[in-house]
């Protein structure tokens, strides 16, 4: 048969099955809807959850969204939030770290005892405490990545051992009160410019400007390189949403005592770690190890070092978080970092959208997740609910988050995006 067969010398540039996004706002909404349906929920559930929580408690108490309460929440999230940021790092590897609560406690104990009882310079004491935390993390990392003990067991041993270390350091004298107006005490209590409203506005405008500039520069470089870039309308919309959130927060904070130092440090650290994870070669290595160890190894990545260093980072962040908690409760004691502090931190990371299965997540999820947990805790305190009820509700929220993670993972798989 010599019928004219159509020759296809060059394949079409774009796969005809590929959905091409429409221009403009309609296209944006269209794609958003498609992403939600295919399980790429991102931070949508947690944002919706936060709005519901805030609305319910505002309705029940009438003063949940008052300036002083919002300010308190932003102060309280710093300590557990930093531990949650550390949890995000280990979750990105697909691993777990059960020792972070004890590490936080041990760090606070070491720094406080050095500064208060031994008379060491307080800055130096803080540095020694965090260095100790990093060393403990290195120890976990060594046993996990070099010896090959499962991370769950290494850090379980760490949880027991460092809790013991914490008790040992604190000693028979018990609670160590923070130095009056010292470094550790100020971590929680200081407000930038002693409550000058300028600072909150400045920080808000600076963050909006940085975000917009970053997005615009990126879009310009991509256009110059002939790559598809975000349309200006979308950048404007994203910047607008961020601006509304940041400016409202700044306004509310200024109604009370101004911009709290713990909020600035926490958000700053989240932003920096996010940059490290998404924009540096080291961050890419962490994602690679979390996504496929064999692939990472063959690409020449030092898997053992990535693992060890991630445990060092998470322990260091937990140590810093411990200092914030000590600052907030006014003292370092034997119970710091105990109880369900660690579980809250892990819950926060997962609620915020970091996957338990490794390779997917952002440090921003620590911020969002801990906001949810702190809002629930504070709200339930305000309506006078018992501790028992609080635990049960937090547990239910965590379960909901994990179910969402699993379901969205399955939906993504069936939509070819696992």
């Amino acid at each position: 048969m010599s019928t004219e067969t159509p020759t296809t010398p060059t394949p079409p540039a774009v796969d005809p099955r590929l959905l091409v996004r429409k221009e403009g706002l309609a296209g944006y909404l269209d794609e958003f809807g498609r992403k939600v349906r295919s399980g790429e929920l991102g931070s949508l559930p947690v944002v919706v959850g936060l709005i519901i929580i805030a609305a319910v408690f505002q309705w029940k108490t009438g003063h949940f969204l008052n300036a002083d309460n919002v300010t308190n929440i932003t102060k309280w999230i710093a300590g557990p939030g930093l531990i949650a940021t550390g949890v995000v790092f280990v979750l990105l590897l697909g691993e777990i770290d059960l020792s972070l609560g004890s590490v936080a406690g041990a760090t606070a104990a070491i720094s406080s005892v050095l500064a208060v009882r031994q008379g060491v310079n307080e800055w130096l004491a803080v540095l020694i405490g965090i260095a100790a935390a990093v060393a403990l993390g290195a120890l976990h990392g060594f046993f996990f990545s070099k010896i090959g003990v499962p991370a769950l067991l290494v850090t379980l041993a760490g949880m027991l051992a460092w809790s013991g270390l914490q008790n040992l350091v604190i000693g028979k004298l018990g609670t160590v009160n923070n130095l009056n107006d010292g470094v550790i005490a100020n971590l929680d209590t200081y407000f930038l410019g002693d409550g000058d409203i300028l600072w909150a506005w400045l920080a808000a405008i600076l963050s909006i400007a940085l975000f917009a500039a970053g997005q615009l520069l990126d879009a310009r470089r991509r256009t110059a390189a002939g790559l598809p870039a975000r349309p200006i309308a979308e950048i404007a919309m994203r910047t607008g949403v961020l601006a509304v959130i940041v400016l409202v927060v700044a306004y509310v904070l200024n109604q009370d005592r101004g911009l709290p130092l713990p909020l600035v440090l926490f958000v700053g650290i989240v932003a920096i770690t996010d940059f490290v994870l998404r924009r540096t070669g080291y961050g890419r290595q962490i994602f690679a190890v979390g996504g496929g160890i064999e692939a990472a190894r063959r690409a020449g990545i030092n898997v053992a070092w990535v693992r060890t260093s991630v445990y060092m980072i998470s322990a260091g962040l937990a140590g810093l978080g411990g200092l914030f908690i000590a600052s907030q409760q006014g003292s370092a004691d034997k119970g710091l970092g105990g109880a369900n502090m660690l579980m809250n931190a892990i819950a926060a990371a997962v609620i915020g959208g970091t996957s338990l299965f490794g390779g997917r997540g952002k440090t921003w999820s620590a911020l969002l997740g801990i906001l949810v947990i702190q809002s629930i805790t504070t709200g339930l305190d305000m309506v006078g609910a018992e501790q028992a009820i609080q635990y049960m509700i937090t547990g239910a929220v965590l379960l909901a988050a994990v179910v969402l993670d699993s379901v969205s993972r399955r939906t993504q798989k069936s939509n070819g995006r696992g």
Binding site: V14, D15, R222, G281, G292, A295, G300
Partner: protein, 259 residues
């Protein structure tokens, strides 16, 4: 083929304990040549490839690179020479996008941070020159089909500008269309002047793209054929050893006597 081979194995042997996996194996790969390496399971194909890729150092023999003897003791040595290997299990990170996987381990940097724009640009250029069609270079690997993953894995091997590419069963798990795409890609590698070592069980694929077929049997060379002048059956019989048994020896003897 003209000129010295890019890669030549001379009398290579490899033992694992009591098992003699390779005995006195010869292999030559020229620039712009596709050498199919065929043989039954356990014939030593994978071992041979691993010695070239530096996973298993050789015990005896010489590996020559562009005419000079070299020692390949670890994977890094092979990569430094310009040997890229695409293993059967691909080794891609599911959670990273195509660009991230292509440049994994050798990311382009700008002021110490990842230069996503430059990487995406080069990724598109690379995929375009190979006529690889992928919905988007920003899609996670998990969202690609088996054939698309295979071509990404091959493209990934090319990022380091190698001279020899080793493909381990690239079409084993692919459908008709995807197999054709991968074979097209192999031909494009040849056009670019790369030497390709193709391991395959599929005779149709071998006949379609290979210039030379090197047959391994029980760890030894069992013939090297020009694909253009060799029949399917000859290759099969070399693989299975059907040319070397009592019947064929007798027939050969009778033919000798008849002369």
């Amino acid at each position: 083929m003209t000129g010295a081979p890019v890669l030549a194995l001379r009398g290579v042997s490899k033992r694992f304990g009591a098992v003699q996996a390779l005995t006195d194996v010869q292999l030559e790969v020229h620039a712009g040549e596709v050498v199919a390496l065929v043989g039954d399971n356990g014939a030593g194909k994978s071992t041979l490839v691993k010695t070239i890729a530096g996973v298993h150092p050789i015990d005896e023999g010489v590996i020559e690179w562009e005419g000079k003897p070299v020692s390949i003791g670890r994977p890094h040595d092979a990569q430094a020479l310009g040997i890229a290997t695409v293993y059967q299990d691909l080794a891609l990170c599911d959670n990273l996008d195509v660009v991230g996987n292509l440049f994994l381990g050798r990311e382009l940097k700008r002021f110490g941070t990842l230069d996503e724009v430059a990487m995406e640009k080069r990724a598109r250029e690379l995929l375009d020159t190979l006529s690889i069609r992928i919905p988007s270079v920003r899609i996670p690997i998990a969202g690609l089909s088996g054939g698309q993953r295979q071509v990404v894995a091959i493209a990934r091997a090319l990022v380091g500008d190698p001279k020899i590419v080793i493909l381990d069963e690239p079409t084993a798990a692919l459908g008709v269309e995807q197999t054709a795409q991968v074979l097209d890609l192999v031909e494009r590698l040849r056009e670019r002047g790369l030497g390709v070592i193709l391991i395959s069980h599929n005779m149709a694929d071998v006949k379609a793209v290979a210039d030379t077929v090197a047959v391994l049997r029980l760890g030894r060379n069992n013939g090297s054929f020009e694909v253009a002048t060799t029949s399917h059956e000859e290759i099969i019989s070399a693989i299975t050893g059907a040319t070397d048994n009592a019947v064929t020896r007798r027939q050969a003897r009778i033919a000798e006597d008849a002369k």
